[in-house]
Amino acid sequence: MAKDKADLLQGTLDLLVLKALQLEPQHGFGIAQRIQQLSSDVLRVEQGSLYPALYRLEERGWIEADWGTSDNNRKAKFYALTRTGRRHLGAEEASWARLSGAVNQVLLGGGRS
């Protein structure tokens, strides 16, 4: 039971990380900030989950990492979407839309009857 839940969250986190990288490469802290910002402060990403997710995504070849310099001239590791990552993001977004649409439909439908 607990494991299913963790898997769901993990899958969602992967999607969020990929989405956060859609526009431009970003470092870990930036990714966390961006997710927080995009979700209007609703979603806070724990570092304990973020970094394992980043390494996992890198292993899968969806993102790649390179050292660069941050806005305020600090050395940081930047993550960027790869071509397969971009494709995967597209597929995930579509399936998420389908899923969340379906869930919404159920919830709304249940409310009307």
Binding site: H27, F29, Q47, P52, Y55, E59, G61, K77
Partner: protein
């Protein structure tokens, strides 16, 4: 594709671990700084911002560790690290390591040794082509017991059973091999029908095997096949030997081929000659002398062949003598048949060694548990520094595995020694194909056992390490604190004691059987008796008269040697067996129930005196009985009296076997092959009635071995073409006849001794722990005036209590196990009270002794120091 790249990435990270760790640390630091800056920008003080960032980030090392765990390359790196760590621990705790490795080595060595015997006898396929198609076929008596095969029955089977691809009839022969002008050597061989090589699926090394012409009556039968070892040792591996004649029993036989060694037969068989079966053999369904092996047609099962042979017997029944109407026939898979005698013993030994292995595992688990307890702080510290619980368990398991593998390697070394010792002993009673050897299968087995034991005894500590109680462990001030050790140890010791009881009882029963068997009365006085075998060539001794004349001449010469008190001949010599199995009866016209299978022997005058047989009534055979024209008289053993004459004096009465014989004497039962077999009814008739084969016994005034050269010389003087072989004293023969039983006893006693040692260590360990745990209490008692005796009694009774549970369980187990051993015992009941009492008492005493050390240590406790702790 992407999965593949993922693996590549992981492995790269694992291999370049240093780089990766540094980069990860750098990345984390960058993150913290970026976050701190962001907080500062929002107006926090720099120091506070940094602290808050760190708190928000969480446990950096756990994070690193959880990322590391994901990496495949890391798996190798971690294992290598674990192994390094395990080896370091090993060196750090030398006594502990030595005890554990030694225990594993003993257990694995023992197990591998028994497995090699098991493997050789029961598992390893016979070294012939398609061995599962090989069968042995026997005739069955009307009571269902097995009998040797008559030539007529063999020919019936061979000619009528369609499910037989081929079959061979085999009997033993001995012959004098003469080389040049010198004296002859006697060698053993087989008399076989022509399909010998086809049955065993072998091809000759040189020349050809037998063909249908070779064993046909009237064909060219003077041919011989040499085994490779005879060809190499006696003929210098002469490649041109095929086609040349050799002199066997003064008769030239042409060598037609050389065959591989190890064709299943008596071990010393060195040549094969054709068994020529003429028309009279064909009709003759009596005269049971042969062993029959067959190769089944492809696709046939043993039960199918068995059914067909039984049908053949029923159809041809009218041709059999009336007493064989209800006889049967049975086909058995050769592999199963060869192992039949060894199986119960091997299963018993296998069970014994498994028990020892379990006891050893329990001991090591105990040691590891105790050490795990001592190391709890270390483990807790490692957990606090970020080691995951799975990671900790894995490390502890790696430690066990390293110990187990080192122990296993040492064990394999021990097994190599033990197996060669075992094989050297077993040569006396096992066919070559069944001798144990150290091969890859045994090595693989040893490896498997070591790994399994490693897992078995490592599992418990590893399981406990999954959830270390950090706070508790850290708070405790040291390994000697008063907290109770984890349970489980006592249960392991109770199990050990129980298993040890079972082994001790088995050892006791085996040992008592051996003592009974060795001390069994052989029925004569073996200490001054010399015996040897010989065989007379057909060519120079073609008829009974010439053979009898040779025998009388030899006996006369032997009696003339100074120091010889008596000499005589017989077919069957004690401990070697011999004579014929025949049906005896006490009535002239026996009905079926009157016939009893006994043994008949033909002996010369002087034989009983030479043996030192004990006369119970009447007289021994005398020179007058040993003439071709003498009256038909016989000496019988006590079994005959019991079987046929209801223990009344039989002298003057008649016993029937191929006609009537008047009983003139009764002797005590003389051993046939083994002291632990029951005596069959046995009748002794004069050698003159059947002087075809015989061995000779000589009774000497002094050491019989010193007369061997004179004896050899006496034979040579009578005929240099006849060799005296296998010269032995019957005392030697008696010792040798018990080799297998003695070996089994030694093995079981060794196992029981090992088990007892391990169990006493187990009791000692638990009692030592108990004393540590009760230290405060005991000190308090001493401080309050408890005497030494009181303290000792209190500790020792704890040890006895621990043993008591094991004694009860083990006693019950031993009652069950000893029933299974029944067939292996000799004149000892499985519930022998002496053995049970001895075993239980031994363990009780050992438990008390094992508790004494900790008990005395308890009396020397420094009360003040202990209470101050």
């Amino acid at each position: 594709m992407s999965a593949w790249r993922g693996w590549l990435t992981r492995i790269r990270r694992g291999v370049r671990r240093g780089d990766f760790d540094a980069q990860m640390a750098e990345e984390m630091r960058a993150h913290l700084e970026l976050e701190a800056e962001a907080r500062t920008a929002r107006g926090a003080a720099p120091d506070a911002a940094r602290r808050e960032a760190a708190i928000a980030f969480g446990h950096v090392e756990s994070l690193k560790e959880s990322v590391r765990d994901r990496r495949a390359g890391q798996w190798f790196a971690q294992t290598a690290q674990d192994v390094r760590y395990a080896v370091r621990l090993l060196v750090k705790w030398p006594t502990f390591s030595t005890v554990v490795i030694g225990t594993i080595a003993l257990a694995v060595g023992g197990t591998a040794t028994i497995f090699s015997a098991f493997d050789a006898a029961l598992l390893r396929p016979l070294p012939y082509a398609a061995p599962d198609r090989l069968v042995q076929i026997v005739e069955l008596l009307d009571d269902g017991s097995r009998n040797s095969v008559s030539a007529g029955a063999f020919l019936d089977w061979r000619g009528n059973a369609t499910r037989l691809d081929s079959a061979v009839l085999m009997g033993g022969v001995t012959a004098n091999l003469r080389r040049g002008r010198g004296a002859a050597d006697r060698i053993a061989g087989g008399r076989v029908s022509h399909e010998l090589l086809r049955v065993f699926g072998l091809s000759p090394i040189l020349g050809r095997g037998f063909g249908p012409d070779d064993d046909k009556a009237g064909g060219n039968n003077d041919v011989v096949l040499l085994t490779e070892s005879l060809w190499r040792t006696r003929f210098g591996a002469d490649a041109g030997i095929v086609g040349t004649p050799i002199m066997l029993d003064e008769r030239p036989r042409t060598v037609i081929g050389v065959v591989p060694d190890g064709i299943y037969a008596e071990r010393e068989v060195q040549f094969f000659v054709p068994a020529v079966l003429d028309a009279s053999d064909r009709g003759q369904k009596a005269g049971h002398w042969a062993v029959v092996f067959g190769r089944m047609a492809p696709g046939t099962t043993v039960p199918q062949l068995d059914a067909e042979l039984k049908a053949v017997k029923r159809r041809l029944n009218p041709a059999y003598p009336s007493y064989k109407r209800d006889w049967g026939v049975e086909a058995m898979g050769l592999q199963a048949e060869m192992a039949r005698e060894a199986r119960p013993l091997l299963i018993a030994l296998g069970a014994a060694v498994t028990l020892v292995l379990l006891i050893a595992c329990a001991n090591i688990a105990n040691l590891l548990l105790a050490r795990a307890w001592l190391r709890e702080r270390e483990v807790a510290l490692r957990a606090a520094l970020g080691a995951g619980s799975g990671r900790l368990a894995r490390q502890l398991l790696t430690e066990s595995a390293v110990l187990a593998l080192i122990g296993g390697a040492c064990g394999l070394g021990l097994a190599a020694l033990a197996i060669s010792a075992l094989a050297a002993q077993a040569v006396d009673f096992l066919p070559p194909a069944m001798l144990p050897t150290l091969d890859l299968r045994v090595a693989g087995f040893a490896l498997l056992v070591s790994l399994l034991t490693g897992l078995a005894f490592g599992a418990l500590p590893a399981w406990r390490a999954r959830r270390p109680n950090l706070a508790d462990a850290m708070r405790r001030d040291g390994p000697t604190a008063t907290a109770r050790r984890p349970g489980g140890q006592a249960a392991l010791v109770v199990g050990q004691v129980a298993l040890t009881v079972v082994l001790l009882v088995a050892a006791g029963l085996f040992g008592r059987s051996l003592v009974r068997a060795v001390n069994a009365d052989p029925g004569f006085t073996p200490d001054r008796v010399l015996a040897f075998d010989l065989s007379l060539p057909d060519a120079t001794y073609p008829n009974p008269e010439s053979r009898l004349a040779f025998s009388k001449a030899v006996i006369e010469r032997l009696r003339a040697i100074p120091g010889v008190r008596a000499a005589g001949t017989a077919m069957g010599i004690p401990f070697a067996g011999g004579g014929f199995g025949e049906f005896l009866s006490s009535v002239a016209q026996p009905q079926r129930g009157d016939l009893v299978l006994g043994r008949v022997d033909y002996v010369s005058d002087g034989f009983f005196e030479a043996l030192g047989a004990r006369l119970r009534g009447g007289r021994f055979l005398i020179a007058d009985d040993n003439r071709r024209d003498a009256r038909r008289v016989a000496v019988v053993n006590q079994a005959v009296v019991r079987q046929f004459f209801r223990n009344t004096d039989p002298v003057g009465r008649t016993i029937f076997f191929n006609g009537p014989y008047e009983i003139v004497g009764v002797i005590d039962d003389v051993v046939d092959r083994r002291l632990d077999l029951a005596h069959a009814p046995r009748i002794y008739m004069a050698q003159a009635r059947n002087p075809f084969t015989f061995s000779i016994v000589v009774n000497t005034a002094g050491d019989p071995r010193q007369l061997a050269p004179a004896v050899r010389q006496a034979i040579r003087t009578v005929d240099s073409g006849v060799a005296a072989v296998n010269i032995r004293t019957l005392e030697q023969a008696r010792a040798k006849s018990m080799t297998d039983r003695r070996l089994a006893v030694w093995v079981v006693v060794l196992f029981a001794g090992a088990a007892l040692t391990l169990a006493s260590l187990g009791v000692y360990g638990v009692m030592a722990d108990a004393v540590s745990a009760r230290r405060r209490e005991l000190c308090l008692r001493i401080a309050l005036g408890a005497g030494r005796g009181h303290v000792i009694r209190s500790v020792v009774s704890g040890g006895l209590g621990l043993a008591a549970g094991g004694l009860v369980l083990g006693g019950l187990g031993a009652v069950a196990a000893s029933r299974l051993l029944q067939d292996l015992l000799y004149e000892v009941r499985p519930s022998d009270p002496l053995v049970f009492a001895g075993a239980l008492l031994t363990i009780a005493v050992v438990a008390v002794l094992a508790s004494c050390g900790p008990a005395f240590r308890a009396t020397r406790l420094d009360a003040i120091a202990a209470l101050r702790d």
